[in-house]
Amino acid sequence: MVIDKVKKVNKVEERVKNEKASDMLIGKWVKCDNCKEILYKDDVHKNYSICPNCGKHFRLSARRRIKQIADEESFQEIGTEIHTKDPLKFDGYLKKVEALKEKTKIEEAVKCGICKINGEEAVLAVMDGNFMMGSMGSCVGERITLAIETSIEKRLPLIIFCVSGGARMQEGIISLMQMAKTSAALAKHNEEGLLYISVLTDPTTGGVTASFASLGDIILAEPDALIGFAGPRVIEQTIKQKLPEGFQKSEFLLEHGFIDKIVDRRDMKNVLAELIKLHKKI
């Protein structure tokens, strides 16, 4: 019997080895890309998509993230009328977007809404790395700006979960300008004396790091997330040497003074709710 089990695990290991890392969460078994342990998918999902063996935080879809953060049935989505645009008329771009929508069943790289977190009302924006690496084009910029403006209008705290490979290259300069748009909206938000908590998850890079991700009154991060402006490969090409272990990880940013606190995903909801309560006007 023991032998049978070993055989089975070997088989699974074999199969997992043949799959790309991005396919790891498909099927019943997954292999942790950190500790290499073979894990039963349901166990991982029940554990907030954290490896029960080593604590590695796997990447999360916006849908799962919202489920973990918002009180049940409380999330009211906004901004669904804002869709992807193609300002450069870039060959094949909209086709790719349509195919991706079909495959992932998500509309764009961010979902925004109003929700309750342990009973506390807030505007919540959650980026989704499954959609073109969470890159920011005009749709993402518009939706984030709408979330910021909604937070101002309703005088609610704002929480943005960031995950992004940076700007959406296919939208060229328009994508770059979303950095200015979202930062200017946050400038207004700031003047209004409202709370903005930015949560950085793996990976947060490029134009998102260089705009709203870095502008929270409080900046939280998940453990071991890659966070930076330039990607590690670009830096290595520039300086022509390998980067040290842990460079641009959450712990490195905490050490260098760029984030307030690293929070385990299992505690995130309670930490957010506590922070919101501490900022309530008495």
Partner: protein
């Protein structure tokens, strides 16, 4: 008709006038001010106080070198976080003393180095945009050469954004774009044509407000004439903006970026 790729070459030309050339030609009594009061003095951004037809203004520019040695000193016009923080310090100073701000944009991008990451390159760029959105004095931004990525935008959020006729403004270099999207950096020429990076394209997209004409063959052929065009443009823009209340000016500045895309 000059192609987008030819404009990229013109914009990068070593002989093309750089920020300090324009500063010395347009303004008088320029006093350069150094340092971010925190880490160091980044020579890829210059800034200070000068007079524009007798009126004190704050001037900031990304500075490339013309020769190899100067380019090394200026880090090829690629700022580190302390450069952006120096720019912000000078802009805040301008607000305190009610001086208009003029910025000259000319960079291949923010520097992607280890130190830059350790000192928060992303935060520095983000902070500048947030602060510039609320500065209570007129801000005029002019792309004079290469305006590339967040490294350009970090001093590019203003009431008026203009480009010299042969300048380019883009999300990243055409080489970078080609290597990411066409998986082939040698297709930079094609990329340049498709990226909408010329002054005319960007005016059509409402990313910039105005185009400033260059002399035949490019800015390097007649510095004094283009500096004169620039000076007129800056004076006219400041006069227009001074007619608005601070609230109106800030609301217009917000709307301008709010509307893009």
């Amino acid at each position: 008709m000059i192609s987008a790729w030819e404009k990229v070459s013109l914009a990068r030309m070593a002989e093309r006038p750089k920020s300090l050339d324009y500063i010395n030609e347009i303004f008088t009594d320029f006093i350069e001010l150094h340092g971010d009061r925190n880490f160091g003095d980044d020579k890829s951004i210059v800034g200070g106080i000068a007079k524009l037809d007798g009126m004190p203004v704050t001037v900031i520019g990304e500075q490339k070198g013309k020769k190899a040695k100067e380019n090394m000193e200026r880090n090829f016009g690629m700022p580190n976080p302390e450069g952006y923080r120096k720019a912000l310090r000078l802009m805040k100073q301008a607000e305190k003393f009610k001086r208009p701000i003029i910025t000259f944009i000319d960079t291949p991008g923010a520097y992607p180095g280890m130190g830059a990451e350790e000192r928060g390159q992303g935060e520095a760029i983000a902070r500048n945009m947030l602060e510039m959105a609320n500065l209570k004095v007129p801000i005029i931004c002019i792309v004079i050469g290469e305006g590339s990525s967040g490294g350009a935008l970090a001093i590019g959020l203003g009431d008026k954004v203009a480009m010299l006729e042969n300048a380019v403004y883009s999300i990243l270099s055409p080489e970078g774009f080609a290597s990411i999207l066409y998986k082939d950096a040698s297709k930079a020429k094609d990329a340049a044509e498709n990226m909408k990076i010329t002054a005319q394209d960007l005016k059509d997209l409402n990313v910039i407000d105005d185009i400033i004409e260059e002399p035949e063959g490019g800015a390097q052929n007649d510095l004094s004439s283009i500096a004169n065009n620039l000076k007129k443009y800056i004076i006219k823009s400041i006069e227009e903006l001074n007619k608005l209340s601070v609230e109106e000016m800030l609301q217009n500045r917000y709307e301008k970026f709010r509307k893009i895309g």
